[in-house]
């Protein structure tokens, strides 16, 4: 039995016994009663941080930043992004890794505040070998490169340690875990706890074929998708590049249902000089 299935079973067991103890709450006595009380306590603890908080009813706690209201109501990820903790993502296929990175960068760029952003690279990880962050590219995606700290670590224990240290220092973290064996339920729980304690967030990129459990709040699978063509001509008779389009499948989510999102970012409206609306008008029928 793999670790993942064992974990799933224990989770379902816990849920069953919780329901049972709720039904038999009249007969609280001795060992069973204590057990039920402990289970209730665990359930309360887990519900506290793991269930998604509705932005409108966010509870204020001292020492913990308030989940900011997303500026843009149309942001479909706002609900997930408001949660401090660990989020997992993996590309749908090997070549989709850049798309997964783009997803992570947009996610982090949309977070309020200007915390340090630590990008933990694992240059030895062959499944995520799509280069280093480009400060200019990050800048254009909405992250000031002055916030960026790049860390090169060996994949596995070192990279995970670096991520945890960065979280403890109160940074936002994007980490490459790849297919490292060290990234399991225990490791991900540690990362999640470290992130939650400081109100930070960590996005961990895993390899496209990585399996195994993780304690992440959400687990995403990202694929690139052909976007709409730009309204102008590009090069060599081809259309120009429109807004980037991704398909983000929410595979697992603590306390919620999975989902599928088609995401498109239009972030270059100010930089790109689109032809005026006049140029787009429909051709008028010749009269006369």
């Amino acid at each position: 039995m793999t670790r993942a299935t064992r974990e799933r079973e224990t989770e379902s067991l816990r849920a069953d016994s919780g329901a049972l103890s709720g039904a038999n709450s009249g007969a609280v006595s001795g060992r069973a009663g204590r057990l039920a009380a402990l289970k209730a306590k665990i359930a309360a603890l887990e519900a506290d941080g793991n269930g998604f908080v509705q932005p409108g009813r966010a509870r204020l706690e001292p020492g913990r930043p308030v989940p900011a209201q997303p500026a843009n109501d149309t942001d479909p990820l706002a609900l997930f992004r408001a949660q401090a903790g660990l989020h997992d993502l993996r590309p749908d296929s090997y070549l989709d890794a850049p798309a997964a990175y783009a997803f992570a960068v947009r996610w982090l760029a949309g977070l309020p505040g200007d915390r340090l952003l630590v990008w933990v690279r694992a240059p030895g990880e062959s499944r995520l070998d799509f280069g280093a962050p480009s400060p200019d590219g990050l800048h254009q995606a909405g992250i000031n490169p002055a916030r960026l700290m790049r860390v090169d670590a060996r994949p596995g224990a070192d990279a995970l340690w670096a991520m945890e240290e960065a979280l403890k220092a109160g940074a936002l973290v994007f980490g490459e875990a790849g297919a490292a064996r060290g990234y399991d339920l225990t490791a991900s729980r540690r990362l999640h706890a470290a992130a939650k304690a400081k109100g930070g967030q960590i996005l961990v990129a895993r390899a496209h074929d990585a399996a195994g459990a993780s304690a992440a709040l959400t687990r995403w699978r990202i694929a690139a998708s052909p976007g709409a063509a730009a309204p102008w001509r590009g090069a060599g008779g081809l259309q120009g590049l429109g807004s980037q389009k991704l398909i983000a499948v929410l595979e697992r989510r603590r306390g919620g249902a999975p989902g599928r999102f088609e995401l498109e970012w239009e972030d270059d409206a100010l930089r790109r000089f689109e032809p005026a609306a006049l140029a787009h008008r429909a051709p008028q029928a010749a009269t006369g």
Binding site: L95, A102, F130, S134, M149, R150, L241
Partner: protein
């Protein structure tokens, strides 16, 4: 010409050769001097600055002898005292030592003469009298007495008493030594007798040397050798704490810390850690060192009986004002994080980007040590991908026209069909960086493309078709 406030108003302190020729002398009243030379230009002397410069020079003389002291007895009569006992052999004798000292000092643009003698008083006198002409002079114990007899009374470090002695017709130390001590002391004061005794060696005079630069080391010694890693870590922590106290007293912070573990059997092992910004925070440094210790895998052998922490590199660290809101200082948090990452993952593991003035994509950002706080990032109008490869990877591409974007390309053994393309963005090579004789390099035409699956790449074609090359090479340089 410099003046200094003295007894009875401003007095001359230092003179130009012209002023000396006009009949002025040091310690003369400024009013008298003006009567003699009405056109003289005078400004105030910086006595403190002189003193500091003399101390610096005395330290500099440390290359001759470790035992040096500045001698600012009289303004304008500055000197440096050196105890050269045992040092002369190194330089090949007293003569050569003095020659070297004088010529090096004169190379600095100073007028200098030097003398060596068995007593401080005699050396002082010789350096200012007989040695001035010869530039140097030295007397051994055997010739000390005749040399002292010839010393004029002005060179006995007795100030104004010398002129009184002159009035009595006593011109040299030899004249004084022939007189009964009691009457000399009664008439001219005890100071004269004392100076005479010091010059002749009857009374001992010691040199108070400059304290060497603070020794930024702290040791923790154990009677019983330490065997356990935990205990060694604890000891290192204590040594670092003591070191931080010393650093605090000096107003310094360590940027490089060395921990030396001395084994019972005589072996020693050094461990180094570095910090991005100077630090004297014992908790932070201990933590860094603890991680270094854990990962170093040192052989404890029969045990460690001495742990020494030293600041191998220290820089000035003033007290920083923390802000009044009590919020954590994010820049120092980042520096601490970088220290920890560097300590465990290796130097330079954590880096930050600084904009560099270049259009070549791989040179547009410089990755620097994480201790520096990067400045503002200038906006760039040209689109850049999120990810840039450390080294552009060759691809096989098919373009419809020589200058156009690729229609299909194969990269990492996968074939891609280009559906959308933008470009070219032409980036010329930086010929001024090319090594001599290698040619200027080739022009790159960059294209942003999107494949049929929606994947985005950043490709370039190297070389202008027809002008620079017949078979242009294609490279994938970025993605996302």
């Amino acid at each position: 010409m410099l003046t200094l406030a003295g007894v009875g108003g401003e007095r001359l302190y230092a003179l130009t050769p012209n002023a000396e020729r006009a009949g002025l002398s040091p310690a003369m009243n400024v009013a008298d001097a003006r009567a003699l030379a009405p056109l003289m230009a005078a400004c105030a002397a910086d006595a403190e600055g002189d003193r500091a410069a003399l101390i610096r020079f005395a330290r500099c003389c440390g290359r001759v002898s470790p035992w040096t002291a500045p001698d600012p007895l009289t303004p304008g009569l500055d000197g440096v005292l050196l105890d050269i006992t045992g040092c002369a052999q190194v330089f090949g004798g007293e003569d050569r030592l003095l020659d070297q000292l004088v010529s090096e000092t004169r190379a600095l643009g100073l007028t200098a003469s030097a003398a060596a003698a068995p007593t401080i008083g005699l050396a002082w006198a010789l350096a200012r009298t007989s040695a001035v002409q010869a530039r140097r002079g030295w007397v051994s114990v055997n010739t000390a007495r005749p040399a002292l007899d010839a010393v004029p009374v002005e060179a006995l470090r007795i100030g104004d008493t010398a002129s009184k002695l002159r009035r009595f017709g006593l011109a040299t130390a030899g004249d004084l030594l022939g007189l009964p001590r009691a009457s000399l002391a009664k008439r001219f004061g005890l100071a004269l007798v004392r100076r005479l005794d010091q010059a002749s060696g009857t009374e001992r005079e010691t040199l108070m040397p400059l304290k060497p630069q603070a020794d930024l080391r702290a040791r923790v010694r154990f009677a019983e050798a330490l065997q356990a890693q935990g205990a060694i870590k604890e000891a290192a922590g204590r040594a670092i704490e003591n070191l931080c106290e010393a650093l605090k007293a000096e107003g310094l912070g360590a940027t490089r810390l060395r921990l030396t573990l001395y084994r019972v059997d005589g072996a020693a092992r050094d461990l180094m850690i570095g910090t991005a910004v100077p630090s004297r925070d014992a908790a932070h440094l201990s933590r860094l060192m603890g991680e270094r210790l854990e990962r170093s895998g040192i052989d404890i052998g029969f045990g460690i009986d001495l742990v020494e922490a030293g600041a191998a590199l220290a820089r000035r660290l003033d007290h920083a004002q923390t802000d009044l809101t009590g919020d954590a200082d994010t820049s120092s948090d980042a520096a601490r994080l970088a220290d920890r990452l560097d300590a465990r993952l290796g130097e330079g593991a954590a880096r930050r980007a600084r904009p560099a003035n270049s259009h070549i994509p791989e040179r547009a950002a410089r990755w620097i040590g994480a201790g520096m706080v990067p400045g503002a990032w200038p906006p760039r109008l040209e689109r850049r991908p999120l990810l840039i490869f450390d080294r552009a990877e060759p691809a096989e591409a098919v373009a419809e026209i020589p200058d156009g974007p690729p229609r299909r390309f194969t990269w990492r053994r996968v074939r891609h069909t280009v559906m959308r393309a933008e470009g070219p963005e032409r980036i010329a090579p930086e010929w001024w960086r090319a090594p001599p004789g290698s040619g200027p390099g080739k022009v790159r035409d960059y294209f942003r493309v999107e494949t049929g699956e929606g994947r985005r790449f950043w490709l370039y074609r190297e070389g202008l078709y027809g002008r620079e090359t017949d078979r242009p090479a294609w490279f994938v340089h970025g993605a996302g």
